[in-house]
Every structure is written in C-alpha cells, then in structure tokens.
Symmetry: C2
Amino acid sequence: MTETAQFLTAAADLLGPKGLTTDPAEMAPWLTDWRGRFTGRALALASPADTAEVAALVKLCAAHGVPIVPQGGNSGMSGGATPDEVGNAVVLSLRRMAAIRKVDVQTRTATCEAGVILQVLHEAAEREGMRFPLSLGGKGSATVGGLISTNAGGTQVLRHGSMRALVLGLEAVLADGSVFNQLVPLKKDNRGFDLKQLLIGSEGTIGIVTAATLKLEPAVAARAVLWAGVDSLETARALLLHAEGVAGGALEGFEVMPRHSLQAVLSHLPDARAPLQGDHAWHVLIELVADAAGAEALPAMAEALLVSAFEQGLVEDATIAASEAQAEAFWLLRESIAPAERALGPAVQHDISVAVEKMPEFVAHAVPTIEAAFPGTTAVGFGHLGDGNIHFHVLAPAATADGPAWQAGEGKTISRMVHDLVTDWGGSISAEHGIGQLKRDELARLGDPVAMGMLRAVKQALDPQGLLNPGKLV
Amino acid sequence: MTETAQFLTAAADLLGPKGLTTDPAEMAPWLTDWRGRFTGRALALASPADTAEVAALVKLCAAHGVPIVPQGGNSGMSGGATPDEVGNAVVLSLRRMAAIRKVDVQTRTATCEAGVILQVLHEAAEREGMRFPLSLGGKGSATVGGLISTNAGGTQVLRHGSMRALVLGLEAVLADGSVFNQLVPLKKDNRGFDLKQLLIGSEGTIGIVTAATLKLEPAVAARAVLWAGVDSLETARALLLHAEGVAGGALEGFEVMPRHSLQAVLSHLPDARAPLQGDHAWHVLIELVADAAGAEALPAMAEALLVSAFEQGLVEDATIAASEAQAEAFWLLRESIAPAERALGPAVQHDISVAVEKMPEFVAHAVPTIEAAFPGTTAVGFGHLGDGNIHFHVLAPAATADGPAWQAGEGKTISRMVHDLVTDWGGSISAEHGIGQLKRDELARLGDPVAMGMLRAVKQALDPQGLLNPGKLV
C-alpha cells in the first residue's frame, strides 16, 4: 500500500463513511470557490463529527505529511478554502459540526460549533430575544468557523466591530492535533500573549477553529433607516461625524455609494426605485437602532438627525424610510451594488481600507488616477465609509470583448496600481476579505517586510511542517 | 577589552551621556520594583531619546548577546521590569521618550511615545475636551509603553475594555532591532495575524513598545456616583445586571468590597466616613457618566436606578453622592482598600478572574475553603465584579510575628491553593497584573499545556536569542 493509501484507510477508519469521501462527484462542489475563481484537487473530503475527530485527523495528517485545507461554507472572497492543483491535501469541512450548544441570555453569549451557519445563529439568538450583531451577504452559507478564521466584517462593524470583537471564547485544533481550549470567556486574562486573537483571522494557517463563544446583544426593538443625497464623499464624512454626535451608540450602519452605483442597481433591479427624486453625486444609507429601552425615542432621534443635517447644509436631500418594507428596500439597494456592478461587464474588485478621515481624499485621488492611467475604465468606490473601508471596483472599457482575458491582463495591472496607491496611503490591501490565495502574492510584494517577517516566523513556529492551509496568506 | 566593555563603549557612543549610565547611584532606583519585592543588577541603564536609538541599541545587544529589560514607570505589580541577579542585562528605560505627538479631536486619537506618563496623557486629552478612559492607582508613574506591554486594566474596563481595546496603532522594536510600525490606525485590516494584539500584553518578551496611537473618548460632562449596601455578592451581581439594563452605556464602573475591606479602610483613613449608616455584608460603588449630550438626563437615570433597585429588593440601603466632593470621597474608600488591607498586617495578594457570572459562587466557595485550610487567616475579595476580576487577599493570622517569613512559607502555600482553585474554576491566575517574574512559575505549573506550548513557540520564533526580558512570563 502506498503511504497515501495507508493514510486514506486510517482516515476512513477514524471518521467512518459519513466522515470521509473520495468520490469525485461528492467532492466536486467543495473544490471550487463559490465565485468559480479558484479550482483545486484533493485526496479526500473529510467531515469530522466533533473536535476529537478533528484532532485525531490532524494528528494523522501530521504523521503522514498530508496538507489540510479547512473549509466552512465555501463562500469566502479570496479562495482561502479552496485546495491547490497538486491534489495531495485533504479538504477538512467543519459543516457537520453544527450544534449551537447554548444561547445564554443572562451572560449574552452563544456557544456554538464551527459549522453553525450564520443565519442559523441569527435565528437562534432571535428566539431568545437577542441578536448576533454581524451580518453579510453570504449569511446563508457562511459558518462561524469561517467567519472567525477570516475575521469577517459586514455592515455593522461601525458599532460592533468585526468578528474579532465578537469572539469571547475559542476552541481550535493546532497543527500537531492538540486542542487549544479557551471556550470559557474571561473578561480579563493577562496570562501572556493573546493567543485567541492570534488565531482569529489566521485563515486556518496556524489552527482550525472548532468552536467559539460569541457575544450577543439585545434584540433590536426599533430601527430608523435614512437615505441622504450629498455632494461629495467629504460631505458624507462630515455627515458621519454629525450622525455620531447626534445618535451616539444608536448609529449602527453608515454606507456610501456614488451616483454610478445607484444607477447600476436601478438598472439591475427592475422594481427598484430611487429613494430621492433628484440627482446626487453620493448617496448615504444610515441605520439607527434601539433595543426595547430606547425604541420610543428613536423616531425623534432620526428626525432630529435629519433636520440638523439639513440645517447644517450637510445633505442636499434626505428621507426616512416610512415603513419596515421601505427600510428593507433601501438596504436592498445597498446590497445589490456588487451584483449590479458585475452585471455591467468585466471588472476588477478591491477590498481596501485607509484611515477613516483620509478616505474622501483617497477616493478623490484614486478614481481619476486609475481612469487616466487606463483609458475607458470606470472606477467606483462604495461601502463602509464609517470603517474607512470601501470596495473599489474598476470596470473594463465598454468595448471589452473577452472579460477573463482583460481581467488577467490589464485588470491585473490595475489591481497592482490600486494596491500600490493604498499602500502609499498607509492603508490595507485587504480590509475585510482576507488574503487567501487571491492576494498572497500582492501581500508578499507590498507587505511591510518587518510584519511579513513576523508573520512567517509565527507561521513556522506553530506549523513547522507547513501542513495547515498551504499556499494561503503567508 | 572584554566583550562587555566593548558593548558598553559602543552603547555609550550610540546613546551619549544622557542616554547611558553605569553609575550605581543613578541605576539603583530602577533595579528594585516600587514595592521592594524584587531587586536585580544590571550592566547599565540605557535611556534612548527616540525609536531609532532604541532600534540601534537592540541591534547592538543582539550582536553582543546582551539581555534587555524594558522598563516604563517601574510601577508594575509582578516584577516584570526588574532585572535578575545575574547582572548581565541592560535596563532599557523608555522614560525619555515622553512626547505626545498629537491629540486629534476629530479622529478621537492621541499619538504618543512609550514614556508618556498616564496622568500627563489624561491632562493632554482634557485640554482638548477629551479623555483617555483608563486609569489606575499608579497613574502618576505608569507609562503608556508599560500599560500596553502589560495590557493594564483598572476601574473603567467594564465599559471601555482594558488597554488592549484602546490601542489603535502601535510601534515596537523587535528582537533583531527592526521596527514594527502600525502607528496609523486602520479600523479594518485583514492582512494576516493580528501582530499588534500579539505585542500588546507580551511584557516586553517579544518586542519593545516605542509609540502608540490611542483611542480617546469625549470628556465626561457629568457623573453620578452611587453607594449601595447589599446582602451578598450574588445580589451584587444581580444589581450589576440591573444597572446594565437601566444605565446601558452610561455604566462606567461597578466595584464591590466586603464589610471587612470597608472597615479596614475606615480604620486606615482617620477622616473617612462610611457612606451608609447600617452594617452590610457587601458594598457596591457604581459610577454612571455622561458626555455633554447626556449630562442633563444623568441625575434622573441615577435616581431611577436607585429607586428600582430598592423596589426590586436588590439593595438594603443606598445613596447617591450629593456633590463632586462626596463622589471623590466614595472613590477614595475604594482606592484605599489595598493600602488599608496591607496596614492590617502581612498578607498574600492574588489578582484573579473567573467568568463574571461565576464570581459570587467562587468567592462563596474560596473564602471558607482557604480560611479552613489555614486557620487564623482571613480571606477578602474586592474589586471589579463587572469584569469577573477580584483582588483576593489572604491575611496572615493575627499573631504572625515575621511577615516576610510567613509570606515565603505559609503564604506561598496559600497562593498555590488559591491558584489551584481559580484554575479548577476555569479562571485566570492573572486577570490584570500580568505574569512578570512573580507568577512565572505558577503559570508554568498551572497553564494549559497547549497554550504554554504556543507561548513558548511564539517567543522562540520572535526572540530566538532569548534576549528580550528574560526570566519573565514564559
């Protein structure tokens, strides 16, 4: 028997028929990322039932030198959960580990396994009058383990932080198969380096998240969703500061989009209507929320925000959603930007951040710079202004016939220039989507050499065989 | 010339007369920690003027194999900044690097060097109508670099988190003399492991903090300080949950002390008065604060909290400080517990945490357990109930003649038992004071072997020569 066959036999014995497959048809959906950008091969798809099985499998892989590609919902943006072409790795799916062990209202925590799908967690929290304050487009497939491993963001980071801020306790299997267990949350613990935070956002390269204790918040009892037209991103930023002053902790979301994005959405969604009559260079979506105690005061707060914003000349026009249905319609416009922009033709996308206060200036500089350097392209930035994070899309010239060829050619050159610009401005080439395999070369090219040296040293120290998610991140 | 002499000559050339001394008298104050528990020796005291000098000195130390003990205000609780007896190390003081580079009201940040004293930072923020929301007893000596390196806590962690939550950007010199620079704060950055958080709380064992960008909050415009007498720690915890419900984000502090501690303070401070007439098993100090926008509503909120707490039978008696002077007097009682307990005689102290909701049960179990095991001792827990963190003091029997001998003998046995108990309860033997040299052996004895393995691997990877603060933490 070859070593590979020996490994597969041992893994099959360990995990049983439900836990291991080498059937190409069963494996196929998990060997390509959801956007179809990356495809790889694998020895097998392993689906352990619990942490002990994960640990035993990782030990087995370590003994046989088999690489491991951890995978949650397979809905990441950077190919971080897709194996490479070599085909010598095991895809380790956490999806079978989908138990919510506990939702505790008093301590405002949920303890759940890595394979719990975000939407399922949302619903479990809601049943107890609570909420988990992180959401994103892929909530129907994204898993808790994947969200933690990629330090996922979304539209509520402004108030609640990214995943990193919501993980109170963590369990993970390390490269040697040992189990790191800090599931019991301690508010204060100064016993050395913050290993929990080290594991969060490490994209499965130094450990495999198996369970977590997550922070919950009281359910939202009322929300007010505002839509404003403003003359510039600079004004949008002033409106953000104003909204923070008026609404304080009630300010839950602050999203921006340029005229171009709104028009793309209106073309893309036949039933959609523009929230405002007139034409505006930039549009702002603001969400205020309150729990039961603050619900009564919320409409007056939203009204006061609107009136004072008009008085101070911050908005050209603005409105408050008159119903929950209209609030949903406003959010649908925001959430449809990415597909609407995609429908316009081939493009290259960038998930970037700079210091919040520099973002207006950055966009004002980057858009004309890119469009001048690559005639015919259209550059569009939209998203999370409150976090200094925008999604910066550059559309191919209208006449582009072969989209994939353009993306692989000029598109790649454009991406390098965008990343150069962001780096010059002290920003990040990955604000919330992670590095995965998509941006690994760009990180190696542009990352601060000192930080890269630390990354590599820590990776080498915690995964000396290099078996955890090879080819990703570092 | 010996290698040591060569090193000292090169260091003197590098740092100049202001930057290096080997004079025993000049060095003496910095070779013993402020409580006089640890004393060491050193080759020299280095006081670089800027980050470049720190980096050059660390490079020089690496070349000559000279250990480095970074030091801020020398007011730590665990001997983390005191050199060992060997005398081959350089004490690297950051105190000369005391510039506050910028206080930015719009972005609510302060950028300052490592040697800035906490109180100086407080005052600089106040001059701009802002505040830095972390404070502790040693604020007149503790430096920003030391606070970051130890992930300091204090009485405002409940609302604002410990130092870890307040560091937005960081600069540090690594073991090879390279400079890690993430001073520009990015709200979102997913370029790999969170190296900034890895450095925070690492006690100078993998890097030397040289500067930071810190989070500011709007100045406090009003505060309400309440004092309540309750029948048990369990009830105090119920009162905490109630206060969180009523006051939400206005709840800034929630401190508890048993009857014993209050009596100790009243004996210790001749002018102090008990806030309440009657006798209560436990006392609670609650602080609510508001910025300008919420100042007007604060008195009514405090009143409502008090009335509803009475109605629900949570408090036996309670009062609101009628003036700022009375508020200060309430806080003085809390801040005097440690010296007052010390004045009662020899004791051993423990800075411990368990999950917040388990703390009442833990104290109810630990106090009689310790007092039964060590007849004549008195066990007292007080402090940050809202963080699940208490300071657990065990006083020697009244007849104890030789305090230091008792501390080194029975005291040590007691500490081991307290740490065993905390570990059994899933808690931490160091909630906020760090490990340093004080608890290094206990961490090695009780730390989870998997976590300890990670700590050692990361330390080895980032400081392969073992020159950064040897003998501390790991």
